[in-house]
Symmetry: C2
Subunit: 188 residues, 2 copies
Amino acid sequence: MTQPTTRDRMISTAMRLFRREGYTATSWRRLVEEAGTPWGSAYHHFPGGKEELGVAAIALGTELVTGTIRRAFERHSDPADAIRWWFGKAAAALEREDFRGGCPVATVALEMAHGSDALTTACQEAFEAWRVVLTGFLRERGFEAARANRLAMSVMNNLEGGLLACRVRRGTTPLERAAEDVAVLLGA
Amino acid sequence: MTQPTTRDRMISTAMRLFRREGYTATSWRRLVEEAGTPWGSAYHHFPGGKEELGVAAIALGTELVTGTIRRAFERHSDPADAIRWWFGKAAAALEREDFRGGCPVATVALEMAHGSDALTTACQEAFEAWRVVLTGFLRERGFEAARANRLAMSVMNNLEGGLLACRVRRGTTPLERAAEDVAVLLGA
DNA sequence: GCTTCGCCAGGACGGTCGTCATAGTCAAGC
DNA sequence: GCTTGACTATGACGACCGTCCTGGCGAAGC
């Protein structure tokens, strides 16, 4: 049980703050305060500045979500159950942080559609990674390749749309609806 | 054909910039420059400051989308066709601005989940208004009340998720997928 | 003609931003 | 014990932020 390094704490705090308040609104000063990390070593660990921190934070978020997808499909043989479990986890996490959290990539992606190439690319890679992992599990469960690809995209649409709606509405209903809709699509 | 007032130009420019780059990243100075409106009269027209401008911009976005939904259902008797037309319009608009646009509310909603009560409320009202209008049209087309409510939520989930995915991916595929998925759900 | 008032021009104000430089600390290697 | 180099502390720097103020303009009302 090694304890997290300064760099790791900065990245995980950045991920949390970025998804909660966005990239632009999160300042280095507020970040180091929240992370309890030394302000002076920010540019030691991230010579590329805030942008490099942002890319690292998005990469961390990518991994975490990928892990959740894996767990969902390892625990449930029925794809619809896997999705329900996954979306339910996401809804619970969202509720736990009082509907201020959500997708670790969406907020940055919307802010930075124009502005930073590195961040835009990182967001693209995140979505792509999730789609690929999902497609793999769906094929493994017997779906034909083209269908698995289409379904993976449907799942992502429903997840992101559901997360956004839940956040605005301050309730978990949209994500539950999204999970049930995906279940219908999987069976259709 | 009266030409738009200074106030109106500020609001419509704000809507465009907010959805493109977010609320925090859009400054008054950049806004008046882009709108070609006088910088000195910003606080004359919006005594409540940037927040009041933000609320007005979201309200404008709410109306515009509501109008699009109405047009979609006036032109198409089949709900699935109405959705296809609507989502297609959204995808075309997104592509036209080089995938930097999207939903006029989503970006602000994600940034401001915490921070400004007025903006949060405005975003909630936007989503609620769209949902109500949609539910009305679906009922008009023969869907029973509870089912119409659920379907309206599904439509919003798919639209928002699709818009986000299209923006990240720089392509219109996810929105086309979303429209087809909604068509399946309408028929299921 | 004069006044009133909605609107515009331009800039001051205090604050915070990202960035970076400089000085200091401290444990590991010899 | 000394050196070295990775890490931390502190704050300066210029730029930009939202806000607000004062001064001026021009048309409508009397």
